[in-house]
Symmetry: C2
Subunit: 225 residues, 2 copies
Amino acid sequence: MSIYHQGSKGQIAREQLINAGVELFGEYGLHGATTRDISRLANQNIASIAYYFSSKEGLYLAVAQWIADFIQNALSEILGEMEVFLAQEEKTADDHLRLIRKMVLTYSYHLCHPDTMRISKVISREQLSPTEAYPVIHQQSLGPMYRIMAKLIGGYIGLDPKSNSVNIHTHAIMGEILAFRINKETICSVLNWQEIGEDELASINLVLIEHIELLLNGLRAKYHG
Amino acid sequence: MSIYHQGSKGQIAREQLINAGVELFGEYGLHGATTRDISRLANQNIASIAYYFSSKEGLYLAVAQWIADFIQNALSEILGEMEVFLAQEEKTADDHLRLIRKMVLTYSYHLCHPDTMRISKVISREQLSPTEAYPVIHQQSLGPMYRIMAKLIGGYIGLDPKSNSVNIHTHAIMGEILAFRINKETICSVLNWQEIGEDELASINLVLIEHIELLLNGLRAKYHG
DNA sequence: GTCTATAGTCGGATAGAC
DNA sequence: GTCTATCCGACTATAGAC
């Protein structure tokens, strides 16, 4: 059978292996994670990795594709809403701000939530030393998200969304969110937190929203005529 | 000879190995970097790692210590200046802002400069999955830096520097800088940059300084009575 | 103190049984 | 299509020559 049906044993094996792959590649990196550990965590035999993905690298690329799909799916609602908004003739400043705020909170949620943190670990590792997997993730998920955020931010503050300046502003703003994910150890250590749970995320989001509004309103006052 | 003098063959071997270690642990991680490659890059024989550092892990810890020392040294001037300032009775708002700005630019420089980027790669990997090396780096260099920045930021905006709120603000602000280092691939890809060189760093710093001022002045207006 | 040669271990890939 | 047993290469660590 060349096509795997949903729920078939082969399909399940693939899913389990990808799932275990996200976990262990995220935690230990491409080299640090072993095929033995991955197959054991997936409850599959070692040979299954070579059989379904031809090699460890093949599994890693499949993990990258799975991550791209996951992000696309997680952001599809808000991205759709943004596109509808941007297609309108009349766009209010408040709606700009509302959508930007919504994306910031969505992004923050996914970066810090324990279930999705392992995904952002894989992506962070790719940014540290990119492999073939990086373009897969970037072109299909991160790129479109950054582009549309730049449109909204540029529209709000009154600068060309394609300018370097707006792109750098966008990265700096999204960077604030990312930093809480990346610097997790330092933050937990300084703040005496054990983990970033619901309460901690709420404190972080409060500050993020405060910053977004100060920055965007300040920049708007400066550039918007 | 149990004590190695400066310039002795043993001392040079240690230095070369640590130097190669920073490079390769940063680029490939603890597992991805091999002792073969490290000793080759260091122009030392493979047994030297075990001899001088007892194991690969020993070398890794020595690399972490070297990084902590490097950061302490790189920040000693500005940290000293900050401590002198904080010990004063009368502290002007302008001086707060000037010192914060100076630290931001120093940090930005070290995070993005090609010569020191490899250091931040090792640290980023430690934040992704901390080992014994993390506390070495944190306690001796990052921790003190964040603590004093929180004092200055809290002082400027008029909130208790020990409060969670000020610490989160501090991390968000320092996070903007960090993000350009971490998200390097995404940023270069979106902005069509090959590398973050001098000109690119200048554009980034311009935006960072603009953000710092908007944020700190906005927060100060809000909280400072 | 330094280095080469090698032992011992582990991980990825594969052959072949079922 | 699935899994076990095994191979081979690469890695770390060490023994011992110099």
